[in-house]
Amino acid sequence: AQTVTQSQPEMSVQEAETVTLSCTYDTSESNYYLFWYKQPPSRQMILVIRQEAYKQQNATENRFSVNFQKAAKSFSLKISDSQLGDTAMYFCAFGVSGYALNFGKGTSLLVTP
């Protein structure tokens, strides 16, 4: 069974600063996908970024980037130039084709002025 661990229940960052959210996972699969989802106070789940395990290059989406370390089974999210609208719960998720996603317990990020 795959497990996803987010070791930081809460984090805080000042506006315009950079913050990194951690995620580790455990799997015996070789082909899989990793995702970061954002859940703002509205509670709508929004995909932030995705990473295919077979790709060595780290994914980037504007201010969001990941550090994917396959051997270490680590998938951290870096948010640059943090904005107040980045305040949300962030969930790391692991997926294998044909199966439901496995989610971590989430990290609550607060961006302060």
Partner: protein, 113 residues
């Protein structure tokens, strides 16, 4: 484009009453459909998933059931609600192919009194 709807958005029900939450997807066919519950604003717990009409897999034995009477309709039900059924219920879908990014509905907040 694809959209996913859930209703109602908010529901307050007494203990012992029945429940019916509905989820529909537009703009795609034969999606995989999922029901998640999120308690206390934390992680997502997978309740049910469906790969086709009438095909339901249960992840957690409990007071709830799910049905898929049509290709793009997924219903979560209970005959008698318990206090512990309170939570935020999310419906999601994916393409059911190798790329299993999930798309989430807006959710239903259920309070059982």
């Amino acid at each position: 484009s694809q959209t996913i709807h859930q209703w109602p958005a908010t529901l307050v029900q007494p203990v012992g009453s029945p429940l019916s939450l509905e989820c529909t997807v537009e703009g795609t066919s034969n999606p995989n459909l999922y029901w998640y519950r999120q308690a206390a604003g934390r992680g997502l717990q997978l309740l049910f998933y469906s790969v086709g009409i009438g095909q339901i897999s249960s992840e957690v034995p409990q007071n709830l059931s799910a049905s898929r009477p049509q290709d793009r309709q997924f219903i979560l039900s209970s005959k008698k609600l318990l206090l512990s059924d309170s939570g935020f219920y999310l419906c999601a879908w994916d393409w059911g192919t190798t790329y299993n990014e999930q798309f989430f509905g807006p959710g239903t907040r259920l309070t059982v009194l």
